[in-house]
Symmetry: D2
Amino acid sequence: MKKGKWNAITDVPNVKVGHVTLDEELPNEGAIRTGVTAILPHAGNLFEQKVPAASFILNGFGKTVGLIQVDELGVLESPIMLTNTFSVAQVLQGTLDYMLAQNKTIADTTSSLNIVVGECNDSYLNSMREMKVQAHHAIEAIQQAATGPIEQGAVGAGKGMICYEVKAGIGSSSRIVSYESTTYTVGVLTLTNFGKAAECKINDWLQKNGYNQYEAIFPTREEVEKPDGSVMIIVATDAPVNERQLKRFAKRAAIGLGRTGTSVHNGSGDIIIAFSNGYTIPHSADDTTISPALLRDDHPIMNDLFLAIVEATEEAVYQSLLHAETTTGRQGRVIEKCILEKK
Amino acid sequence: MKKGKWNAITDVPNVKVGHVTLDEELPNEGAIRTGVTAILPHAGNLFEQKVPAASFILNGFGKTVGLIQVDELGVLESPIMLTNTFSVAQVLQGTLDYMLAQNKTIADTTSSLNIVVGECNDSYLNSMREMKVQAHHAIEAIQQAATGPIEQGAVGAGKGMICYEVKAGIGSSSRIVSYESTTYTVGVLTLTNFGKAAECKINDWLQKNGYNQYEAIFPTREEVEKPDGSVMIIVATDAPVNERQLKRFAKRAAIGLGRTGTSVHNGSGDIIIAFSNGYTIPHSADDTTISPALLRDDHPIMNDLFLAIVEATEEAVYQSLLHAETTTGRQGRVIEKCILEKK
Amino acid sequence: MKKGKWNAITDVPNVKVGHVTLDEELPNEGAIRTGVTAILPHAGNLFEQKVPAASFILNGFGKTVGLIQVDELGVLESPIMLTNTFSVAQVLQGTLDYMLAQNKTIADTTSSLNIVVGECNDSYLNSMREMKVQAHHAIEAIQQAATGPIEQGAVGAGKGMICYEVKAGIGSSSRIVSYESTTYTVGVLTLTNFGKAAECKINDWLQKNGYNQYEAIFPTREEVEKPDGSVMIIVATDAPVNERQLKRFAKRAAIGLGRTGTSVHNGSGDIIIAFSNGYTIPHSADDTTISPALLRDDHPIMNDLFLAIVEATEEAVYQSLLHAETTTGRQGRVIEKCILEKK
Amino acid sequence: MKKGKWNAITDVPNVKVGHVTLDEELPNEGAIRTGVTAILPHAGNLFEQKVPAASFILNGFGKTVGLIQVDELGVLESPIMLTNTFSVAQVLQGTLDYMLAQNKTIADTTSSLNIVVGECNDSYLNSMREMKVQAHHAIEAIQQAATGPIEQGAVGAGKGMICYEVKAGIGSSSRIVSYESTTYTVGVLTLTNFGKAAECKINDWLQKNGYNQYEAIFPTREEVEKPDGSVMIIVATDAPVNERQLKRFAKRAAIGLGRTGTSVHNGSGDIIIAFSNGYTIPHSADDTTISPALLRDDHPIMNDLFLAIVEATEEAVYQSLLHAETTTGRQGRVIEKCILEKK
């Protein structure tokens, strides 16, 4: 399947991504290796122009905030924020501050606001108990969000993350699906922090996906002794689908994740959030109804979209590995990157 | 059905409740009328001794934090915290601070921690955008939690809440069920912030529940123009049931809520969390298995427990009205209490 | 709230209802007291013109067929059939026969077909193990389905049902909601087979709903010793809503059910199915998209629809009692009707 | 991971499998290529000794019967039956007949009975509209069920099924997990009827799983023009886990399915049912409680069980291909098997 220009979630028109990375040494072998990543479904006011959204919980050992309302109303009305497990509160606070500053009527003359924050546990490398992420970091991540190519690997919320026992973090990929004159884009962004090296199927993937002269070399080391990690998967599309269809999309991302080798460990929070910016739903309107043109479930392009999501999710996980740099964290712990070597 | 000694959630042995109330005037007719309420399933270390738990989302227009993991693992490992919609982040932060101080190994040598925070929107009376609740208020609410009778009405998280257009907030009730030599207690605590006066069935309830010489008088006033409110319902029991059975309990609380008259408005976050402290699940153990004695679904006492939950939820909503005091909030807005008058 | 012309589910334009009743004596004190009820969302070909639909399982001790696909695709493509627990197979078979005869391409050149059959256990009065309902009875119920007033009480699938320990069965009610020039109808049909007499709140309802000179008298008898029963609730509307919104509707029906007094017993299959015929979704089409005009969630009429569903469900349950006739069943068992007596 | 003796679901002690296959020519190029498969969780009376069970719907374009009650009560009380889409009614009827004959008190002095029937659409090869499966075929499948090696491929419910455009049907596999002195078995049985040849990853699997001198050759032909198919996956284990944990197991089977290459097409009913026979739950008992010893979620063996399910599901799909024989069906349609050729 064809990829978008940047092979990133930002190939979906109007989607923006921003990172803030914290990198700081602390006394007593402490280290801050963490950050915040913001995904904006479009460039406008998200509260005023909501987008359809849904989620799927593959394994709920996670602390993602905001999905109850997404499930009830089928819409997203804030950026999707990613960070470490213990910084959810600060990122929630900062995003709330940002949105309230932008929307003076919220909780004054109109209703309240629902914010979505996802997380993974980066405490192997990062002194997560120190909670150095502050509310303003969330605001900065939103402000820095941009269209175009995105930084991947050990950056933003991905700074301290580990996947398949090598350094990972943010990965992204995209696919273009076309049918006659209709073209849609699917983009996936993953925050990867799960799995054992022995499970990883990256070399199979390299073989079949244009890198067959390369091999991914995993560092020889003892198994990383850490609790099972997690993964956040954000699926974006401009295909005009509704919240039910987006839940179907989210389930296909789980299939793509599974292809990379994981059997979804007990302690893993594997959570998928899918949205479309193919149309928006105004916060308030004089109209009684809205009439989005929704893709038919049985249109052939639907199965293409499903495949696009599987492929883009699978690749996004691998891109998080391929972009990451070896990182030294707290207690002098080193997590090496996997190296792509010519065979 | 028989009630417990305090007719409160604290009739379930070992359950503790604590409130912190914020009451402050601000410039420009602003006013802080809000707070935090903590419900502790038992007096021990909740992370070390988790309790089985489940939730039911009757209407998901709400921002409750922490239910994804409760759903996956079937356990609660923190206090249940209640506050206003925009203070979820601070209460999450404070509760995290408290739990981390108590458990030094979390996110160092053991896994991370899941905290549950529920909320309602008190922005009609409270200058909610000012976000005056701080992390330390959450800690104080936990520290002040006690067994015994509990303060109800316009207190803690209930300080600024409005139900059926009169002052409300925290309400609680309990029931005792017995079968032969077996006795269990059900306790319910509600944070009430929903409904229109015309819907309320309190007078029917008074008539049939020992107050038939009284009538609840609702103040004559225009309809309160505010967004649809919400309700948080916490169901506690010492009956030894598992997470699936607790979800059944949570659904019965929805039936009890419905009996008070609401048709569950669009903008309402109506969320029920149920736990049992009839047994605990240790965070770590050398054992391969756990063997709690679980109540059979078809035991006659199960239907009694269902009825107990319906009744206690219904009464808890009314108790939140009956205990509340007339409250003046921001912009000089006054929400009167409903008055119990002798007929 | 205003009721429709027939105070029945058939007040929703184009909805049709048909009954087949089986009433037969068997040797050894056996008796057939059962039947089939068909609800057709519209008069056309339901496979070719599907309707949006959703369900809510209040208590899943039931054997309803077909909801998995309704949940996935958000549409209903067959009549909704009701019968006794052990006749689900025959009714499924008959409905399939009917639909296949009508649609020659199913499972030949096009996809297969999903049929919805709900049930309650009428084995107290009916020799349910004899399974006298045959496939052709289902076809006849569909063929006899008509718009206009509907027969209620001990008829069709309701022939042998018992609610609140008195004779019940089929009950229906409707409400009209209007906002400016917009008018929608909500209709509910219930198959009632649950509850203990002591729980029933019909007299409160009579008092407040125009029958205040009447009292429902429940026969003096011992408690009916039977397993917990069930209830099927079908919610129809012409309001143009989608599958997510219909799930919200289904939850409000649970609130209406709860108002009648039940605490939803362990052994009860309490299942709600909601559909809209405000628009249809063609089985196949050349178009890539469909564009139904969908009611906004925050439109004031939405809360009116919620209330309409609560009220119509509550009344439909009572109508099933008020229309039923005293019935003698197997082993000479008699279930009396409740009598409306002038006070 | 180690496999069981038969590499089949019957490696889980006491699990039994039985097939009835229908193979008959009809006039006008019609052909019956279908059947029934029965999976019995143990050799005893399943109604009297229920087993814990759960399901996960990966894609709900399917007509499986019985999962609502499994979800509510967490138990299975009948065999799991598999057949074609339009024979669900007859198989439901036959299984009901069988169970009623075995249990005289059902629906007389005790409650009713929940039966689980899954299906896939075999209408490409089978004249499914003719509905030749009769109730007695279901009874025969149950009666023929046995422990030990099981017949796979184009047999029983798998007779007419097609997977990845080659002949498939029933496939099974098992894994043994051990930790210190504890040993559990996981067995999976699949009814496969989905996917496009181009998606299938069987050759990657052969390469890594001891068949690296072989290659699976897919017949050269035009794409099979048929609606998207489905898959039923049955996961059995003797590990003592509860219904919540079994839902986690079911989700891992979805990961295993995804590994075989499918992106889970729109029209596919991909449904997973998991049960444990590590303990049973008696239908009736004088005891107030039950006390099964349940595996801790965080025990290391849990992740091994997850992996075992992923691997066994993946292999079971492939075994359904490897065991199947080329089959000619209605309208002279031929579906060839894929051939394992020495490289």
